[in-house]
Structures are given as C-alpha cells and as structure tokens.
C-alpha cells in the first residue's frame, strides 16, 4: 500500500465521519406518502394527489391559495356582477400562467413543476386586455411559479426545465416588470433575480415565494416530499446577495406542507405564515428575519388563532387558512355542517376574512359548491377565484368581494394567477 492510497483512505474516512450516526434521518414508508410514480402524477398507495399539490400550486403562485368554494351553478345567493368600476380599486394588473395552446388539460399539479411549456400572460384587471405574453427563457422551458409584489407592476416568475416532477426541477427566479406607458410589445421586461438557482435536489420542492414590500428580500420555503424531513425557509437579500436559512423543527404528519404561504410585514422585517402541522387549528408564526440567531425557535413568535364561532375548518384542505399579504387578515374557508342536507350541501361553504387585530369576521361568500381562491388583494377583501374545478380544469374565473362578483376573462387552461 503506498502513501497516496493511505492518505486517500484516511481522508475518506474522516470526511465520512463528519456525518455522525445520529444524523441519519428516519425512513418512513407509509403507504400514502412514498413518492411520485414517474409519469403518472400519482402517489403510491394513496389517493391521487391532484388536490393538495394543485392547490398548493396555485397557492405557491400567488402567496395566496387555495380554498375551495363555489361560484357557478349555485343557487340564489350569488350576488349579481358589478360593473368594472368596482375593479378600479384593486391591483391594476394580474399575471396568469397558461398552458401552451394545444396542450389540453395536462398535469393539474404543475405549479411546482410543469410538463408543459407554460407561459406568463399579463392582463389588465379592469379591461381584461392582454398587455404582454412572456415565454420562459432558454434553457428553461416553462414557468411554474408566479407571485405578485407590492407595487402591482412587478411579478416574480419561477422558470424551470420541463419535468414530470421526480426528481423535482430546479427553479430560476426572474422579475417581470411592466411599463404600462410603453408600446405594446415592449411593455414587459424579464430580468434574472440575483438569487442562485433554487435546486430541486432529489426531492425538495420549492413551494412558496414572497418578495418583501421594499423589494430587497425574497423568502422561499422548500419542502421535502417525504415525512420527517424538515422544511427550510430561506431569505435572500437581493441587494447584498447574502442569504439566511431557518430549518423548521417540525415536520408534517402526512404529505402536507409544514408551512403555509408566507407574507411579509409592511416594514419588510417579519415573515408571517401558518404552521399547518396542527390538524384542526391554526397557529400563526411570526419570524423576525432580522434577528441575529437564525434559529427558528428563537426568532419566532407563535400565535394561536381562535376559530370563528359555529364553523369548522375544512379538514381536508391542507392550505387553509391563508394569511393576506398585509399580515393583518386571515382568509379561511369554512364549512357549516348544519347546512349539509341529505340532498347535498346548501350554502355550506363559506369564505371568511378574519381581522387579526379586532377579531371581526367578514363573510365574503357563502355557497353550495367548492371554489378555489387563486389570488387576493393585499387586504383579502377581494379574491380571484376559479370555479368548477381546480385549474387547469376550471370552467370560469371571477373576482369576489363581499359586495359582488365580477367575471374575468381567462382561458380555461389557466393554471395560476398572481395579483
């Protein structure tokens, strides 16, 4: 044995021993959570995962997310559509991710990854006119994330290579800036954000994005598609290029995201999101991203939220409730069991906005069918919903407020919307 071999052997052993035996994560192989079957979008042994992931997809997209409720076909209480004047008070533009023409209703859960060449379409809230259509730059083939920002003219887009989801693709983040005064065709500019490529690794999924109101900090949450692997929250400083990572100490009891969509406080210091490891109650996490420790438990404050009286949370919806971008309100989808009759639900589903400071509950809509919340304005008082089914199978889209409903024009193959 010569010296090089000796040195190599010892170096290998000592390098390997940097991982202590206690560091081996437990392996759990519950039937319902093992992973995706390549090309089929189903999980082994469990129900089709269209629901949670598609929902999460839409959510990932906008920071908002998915609460089912119903729009079309309901009886009686649907408020007549208001004229467009109502929309003038809302964010003036929204961006929708749409599948390429001719693709048809492809994979429904493609907000975390996409098998299609999805493109981003920017539209006017008031007129519905298309202002810009953006394709993913090379070498990426599709957009899989979209999220609005505070100024309503900038959007974060996540580009990926086409993937069947396993292993999960890496995500490159871009800033889409709209110049409303520019000529058509020159209105949108796509710029790569100074953020490293977010690797999909072998099993990590980028699940949430949130840009701070001052535009300096970008928060990402990555979730492992398996049990007992901690969720990681990372904040990138777009000015200095530095980043900080918090490892959430909990893990989900099943195939669910531990952390809900994050929202920034108005001073761009605190990140708020829901701990969703608790089955039937909500715990709000307030993480001070400026704290020096970079330790999740030390830097966080936990707030338990009361349930509105007489309501039960959708137990099957992993994404409810939803914190609004101003961190002052919670949107939650609730079901009133007393309204479920032998003939089916009658106005059993409702969408509530809870003011976290006053505790006041405002009901936006009540309905007998399920709908999906795709985007919300900063206060949560207006939401963009899909009806009929989860995108891209949705039949129609609309803006809901407590005062009325306004249909908006989006193709049926829309998969996500950001306001």
């Amino acid at each position: 044995m010569n010296r090089t071999e000796d040195r190599l052997r010892i170096a290998l052993l000592e390098t390997a021993e940097q991982i202590p035996p206690s560091a081996v994560p437990p392996l759990e192989l519950p039937d319902e959570v093992v992973g995706r079957v390549r090309g089929s979008h189903r999980r082994l042994g469990g129900p089709p995962r269209r629901w949670p992931s598609a929902l999460a997809a839409a959510a990932a997209v906008c920071l908002i997310i998915g609460l089912p409720v119903a729009l079309a076909g309901g009886k009686g209480r649907v408020v007549p559509a208001r004229p467009f004047g109502l929309l003038a008070q809302f964010p003036p533009y929204y961006v929708a991710l749409q599948q390429a023409p001719g693709c048809g209703p492809c994979a429904p859960d493609n907000a975390r990854y996409s098998t299609n060449q999805d493109r981003a379409v920017m539209q006017s809230t008031v007129t519905g006119n298309t202002l810009a259509t953006i394709a993913a730059p090379k070498p990426y083939g599709t957009f899989a994330f979209v999220q609005g920002t505070a100024n309503s003219r900038d959007f974060i887009l996540g580009a990926q290579r086409l993937s069947d989801g396993f292993p999960y693709p890496a995500t490159k983040l871009y800033l889409l800036h709209l110049n409303p005064s520019a000529k058509p065709g020159h209105r949108a500019r796509l710029t790569a954000l100074p953020v490293p490529l977010l690797p999909g690794a072998s099993s990590y999924e980028l699940t949430w994005l949130a840009l701070s109101p001052n535009g300096h900090l970008l928060a990402t949450i990555s979730t492992r598609a398996a049990n007992n692997i901690p969720t990681k929250l990372r904040v990138f400083d777009l000015v200095t290029g530095r980043s900080r990572t918090w490892v959430l100490p909990k893990w989900a009891p099943s195939y669910r995201d531990v952390a809900g969509p994050p929202s920034w406080s108005t001073d761009s210091r605190t990140l708020a999101f829901f701990d969703r490891t608790m089955a039937r109650s909500a715990e709000l996490v307030l993480l001070d991203t400026s704290a020096p420790a970079a330790d999740f438990s030390t830097d966080s404050r936990f707030v338990s939220l009361p349930r509105p009286p007489g309501t039960d949370e959708f137990s099957f919806l992993p994404d409810a409730p939803l914190l609004t971008p101003d961190s002052q309100h919670v949107i939650e989808s609730v079901i009133n069991p007393r309204e479920i009759t032998p003939r089916g639900p009658e106005d059993a589903f409702a969408l509530n906005v809870v003011n976290l400071r006053t505790g006041k509950v405002t009901q936006i809509r009540q309905h007998s069918q399920i709908f999906y919340v795709l985007a919300t304005d900063p206060s949560g008082s207006a939401v963009i919903v899909a009806t009929g089914n989860l995108p891209p199978f949705a039949k129609s889209f609309a803006i809901w407020t407590a005062h009325g409903t306004t249909p908006i024009q989006l193709p049926a193959d829309t998969i996500a919307v950001a306001w």
């Binding site: 071999e5 052993l13 940097q18």
Partner: protein
C-alpha cells in the same frame, strides 16, 4: 493529522458496511411479505454508510441524504419486482451512485448552490478538517465520475472488485484499470497542488 498509519482495522464498523451484499441483506429474506419492514431493516443497517458515501461524492450533507432517501424509496417501489431480493443492497448502492451522478450533473449544469441545504459540517467539524484532507477530497471530486466512484468504493467501503463491478455495472478488469488511472490522476493532482 498522521498519515503514515495503515488503514484502520475497524473500517466496516466505522462506515456501517459489512462489505457484503448478502450479509447486508441477511435480515431481508426473499419471502418477506412486508416490504416496508424489509426496506426499513435495510435502511437501518446501511443508511449511514450510504449517506457518508454520497457525502464524499457530493460534499453536501443534505444532498447526500436526499440521494440516499430517494434510493430507498426507489427500492421500496421496485421491491416486488426485484429478481433477487437478497441483492437489494447492491441495488440501492447502485441507485445511490446514480443519484450522485445526477446531482453532480445538475450541479455543474446549473450553478448549483451548495449552501442551499443544511450546513455541510458544523463549525466544530470545520475546525477539525485539515487543509490536507480537504485537498485530497477536492482532488478526488475533480476526477471523472467513474474514477471517483471506483476509488470511493474501494478505499472507503473496502469493497472487492467484483462488488464494485456489480455496483457500477462494469467489468472487473475495468474496475482495476479505472482504479489505477484514478490513483495516478490523484497523485498528479496532489503533487501539483503541493507544488
């Protein structure tokens, strides 16, 4: 760090491998009905060694855990289709090598952010890491993937040539020639770094 010693006598215990596929899968009898239990047994016995192997290849602990976890998930899925379940360890070892290759390919093709995962080492272990050891590992990671894998399997896992050949799906003579070339390249690289 002393470098003049011979290989530690307790190599198999230190990296958690017995070096034998059959011995490693002794508790996983072909007739086992509960594949989850069988895979879990295998995981309990070999996860540490495989994670360490992947860590050597990738230099990233979180990525190493991912690769190994996925390899066992793949084994779990394909368990009913394994022709010889006694060779499950060989299968999962090959999966880990393939996963490492894929991860490295993605990394090189796309400005992989090594710091995205949990810290690779603690501050304490970083202090203990000598420059010399880092040089050797750096040089090893610069080798072509086949040479890197052969050297890791031979000098870390102490696998015999036939098992290395099985894990990498190459012939034994290729294992020998690749190991020779890899060591020569490593020697040259270390000499260049030193000079």
């Amino acid at each position: 760090m002393e470098l003049d010693g011979t290989a530690p006598a307790s190599v198999p215990q230190r990296h958690g491998f017995t070096g034998s596929d059959r011995a490693g899968s002794a508790d996983v009898s072909p007739g086992t009905k509960d594949r989850a239990a069988a895979v879990s047994v295998l995981y309990a016995g070999h996860a540490l060694g495989l994670i360490r192997l992947a860590h050597i290849m990738l230099g990233n602990r979180q990525a190493a855990e991912d690769v190994v976890h996925d390899a066992f998930l793949g084994l779990y899925r394909r368990w009913p289709h394994l022709n010889e379940q006694a060779k499950a360890l060989g299968y999962v070892r090959s999966s880990v090598l393939n996963g490492c290759r894929s991860a490295l390919r993605r990394r090189s093709a796309s400005e992989f952010d090594d710091s995205h995962g949990a810290p690779v080492t603690s501050a304490e272990s970083a202090v203990l890491t000598t420059e010399e050891r880092q040089e050797i590992i750096r040089a090893l990671r610069r080798l072509p993937h086949r040479q890197r894998e052969v050297l890791a399997l031979r000098f870390y896992l102490d696998l015999p040539d036939d098992q290395i050949a099985a894990a990498m799906r190459i012939s034994r003579s290729t294992v020998r020639s690749t190991a020779h070339r890899g060591l020569s390249a490593l020697r040259r690289a270390l000499r260049e770094e030193t000079s």
